[in-house]
């Protein structure tokens, strides 16, 4: 039978099990959209800005671990999408972006809405494909999915000229969904060597003061259960990066909380004391390590990651292993001795008690940490939390009681403001049975506020909570601490009425300004399933504490101990 390029793309997406794609049509991808309208398996989600579309696809991917798909037209459609792609690259999110391109005969002529898409995508994708003929689609589309989801996941862009989408060809047999294609076989992860495993197990068993330093790799490998068993058997305390939050239950005795720039004081102090750092699925990011030369100065380092290029990149490790974390933990487990590590645990308990995270109980309901804690207590552990970027994001990381993986969706590597709302939409689309909360700030929320229209249209179970301090809080805080309180361009002279804006979009808006019994009102709103936006006024002088100054070691944090 004869198929157009557009029809072939749609059929191949169906074969990949894709049920939702998100994007915006335009001149150069209209043939694809025309074909998409005839699919009864794929629902199209119309975003209001391509960046929103990219982040909705990311929301689906981050919440499920499966590939998210987004579509954009050429030129501005592509450039708008780039931020969402770069964000997916830095947080290793599997994403396939299919972009329209001007017809082959116009390529290189500066045609209307022509931009060098692949050229723009090179530094921010895992790989990108330019499709030169309709025949190539049969190979490239399945290949794009394999690349996006194999090994360390990441975004893949496929750029397809309009004439290729319209060209017809006879297809007798569709490519089968393969685990590994021949072309990427040479990038395959080697099976884990048992000698390495035995060596690492011995080092752990011998260590006196070991710490597990875990990151997003744990949830990517779906290895949280193996991690829990592992930590419990040998009684190794667990410190998590931002991306790892939820991979280890926050209410467990061995849990130390988040490390790094805004980590709890005790976490950073304990890391300074360790003699063996067991780094699993982490990349020694500067926000986690502080001054890397002063990070865990007395520790032997074991580093396990699926990406060999991360090993010895920022920090030299004495034991390295490139491999799948689930497999590594499974194989290590039987070789690990059961140990109560009473001395080390006692010492940690003492440091924990002497250096707790600042929780300003006396400052009441509207202190952001108290408020987030309150929200956490009202919701069940299945609830998905998305954040934007800034102070509110760090307060969520510090105070929200995450107990399960893939429940915190946050922009860790790129730190993209505007991330929260569209990612919440994607997460809700992938989890129709779950509530999704987007905790945002008044600065971040404005950066993708147009997606409220998408939310109203889809009527999803999402509540947006805007912690509103009338400024770019993280910038204001750094100006206060590091730039002599010279508050340049961080205070908003005017701010919209967010509750009214939400209502105008068709989403229920609430304003907690001057609301006294906010606790009950909040509980009421969270118990409904209609989309809503809550504006929560907070004091603009509140800082995220502690904070490690630029260039300092993690234990040299400011605001480790606060007197209320």
């Amino acid at each position: 039978m004869q198929y157009t390029g557009g029809e072939i793309i749609v059929k191949l997406l169906e074969n990949e099990g894709i049920t939702k794609v998100c994007g915006i049509p335009g001149g150069a991808n209209l043939p694809l959209y025309d074909a998409l309208s005839k699919s009864d398996k794929i629902e199209h989600i119309l975003a209001r800005h391509e960046q929103g579309g990219g982040f909705i696809a990311q929301g689906i991917a981050r919440a499920t671990g499966k590939v998210g798909v987004c579509l954009a037209t050429s030129g501005p459609g592509v450039t708008n999408l780039l931020t969402a792609i770069a964000d997916a690259k830095l947080d290793s999110v599997p994403l396939v972006a299919i972009t329209g391109q001007v017809s082959s005969s116009f390529l290189g002529t500066d045609a209307f809405q022509e931009v060098d898409t692949c050229g723009l995508a090179i530094p921010i994708t895992k790989h990108n494909f330019f499709v030169r003929s309709v025949e190539e689609l049969l190979h490239i589309i399945p290949e794009a999915f394999r690349v996006a989801e194999s090994g360390r996941p990441g975004p893949v862009l496929v750029d397809i000229p309009r004439d290729v989408q319209m060209a017809k060809m006879e297809v007798l047999e569709w490519p089968k969904k393969k685990e590994n294609s021949p072309l990427i076989e040479n990038k395959k992860i080697e099976p884990v060597n048992m000698e390495d495993i035995a060596k690492i197990a011995e080092v752990i068993n011998r260590a006196k003061r070991p710490i597990l330093y875990i990151g997003g790799g744990i949830l990517q490998a779906n290895a949280h259960e193996e991690l829990y068993k592992f930590a419990k058997k040998n009684n190794i305390p667990v410190a998590s990066t931002l991306m790892g939050l939820g991979s280890y239950p926050s209410d467990d005795d061995l849990y130390l909380g988040m490390l790094g720039m805004h980590g709890a004081p005790h976490t950073n102090i304990i890391l300074n004391e360790t003699d063996l750092l067991i780094a699993l699925g982490v990349r020694f990011d500067d926000r986690a390590t502080g001054n890397i030369t002063k990070f865990c100065p007395n520790a032997t380092v074991i580093h396990v990651d699926i990406d060999p290029a991360e090993l010895n990149k920022n920090k030299i490790a004495q034991y390295t292993l490139a491999g799948d974390l689930k497999e590594v933990l499974e194989k290590l487990f039987p070789l690990l001795s059961a140990d109560d590590r009473q001395n080390w645990i006692d010492e940690i308990t003492k440091i924990k008690n002497e250096n707790p995270l600042y929780m300003p109980r006396k400052k009441g309901f509207y202190h952001p940490l108290n408020f987030i804690k309150e929200v956490g207590d009202m919701l069940d552990p299945e609830t998905i939390i998305t954040t934007d970027v800034g102070q509110h994001q760090m307060w969520v990381a510090q105070a929200y009681p995450f107990k399960k993986p893939r429940k915190l969706l946050t922009s860790g590597g790129l730190g993209t403001m505007g991330f929260g709302l569209p990612v919440a939409i994607g997460a809700a689309l992938a989890n129709p049975d779950k509530k999704v909360i987007c905790i945002s700030g008044d600065g971040s929320f404005l950066m993708n506020i147009q997606e409220l229209a998408t939310l109203a249209e889809l009527n999803l179970n999402i509540t947006v909570i805007i912690l509103n301090n009338g400024c770019l809080g993280m910038v204001r805080q750094q100006q206060e601490l590091f730039f002599n309180k010279n508050y340049v361009a961080s205070k908003f002279k005017s701010n919209p009425d967010f509750a009214s804006i939400a209502n105008a979009f068709g989403v229920k808006g609430y304003d907690f300004t001057n609301v006294k019994e906010a606790n009950e009102l909040l509980r009421g709103i969270l118990s409904t399933s209609a989309p809503s936006v809550i504006n929560v006024p907070i004091d603009d002088r509140e800082n995220v504490l502690p904070i490690v100054p630029p260039g300092a070691a993690n234990y040299q944090m400011i605001g480790g101990k606060i007197i209320e």
Partner: protein
Amino acid sequence: MNNQDVVIQLTVNNHPGVMSHITGLFTRRAFNLEGILCGRLGNGKISRIYLLVKKDQRLDQIIKQLEKLYDVSEVLVCEDYNHKIFDDIHKLIRSDDVKK
């Protein structure tokens, strides 16, 4: 003659865009690239690229990042290479011999 340099030998798929993936990687990761030699192999489906780079502590990271590139099928490091090749290029560039 210079033993502070090494040559990285790459075997790559031969299609437009491969070169920009490789040079893009060097820009993105702030690696230095001192020279490039490139040509088709056999039936033209694959190419061979020689990269002249500084031998320093970043070399290991460069190799690992090159190995991750989709179109790169083999990466070899040649410490003991024929210096004449790159020296000749420099001579060629200076002498304008390419112009007929």
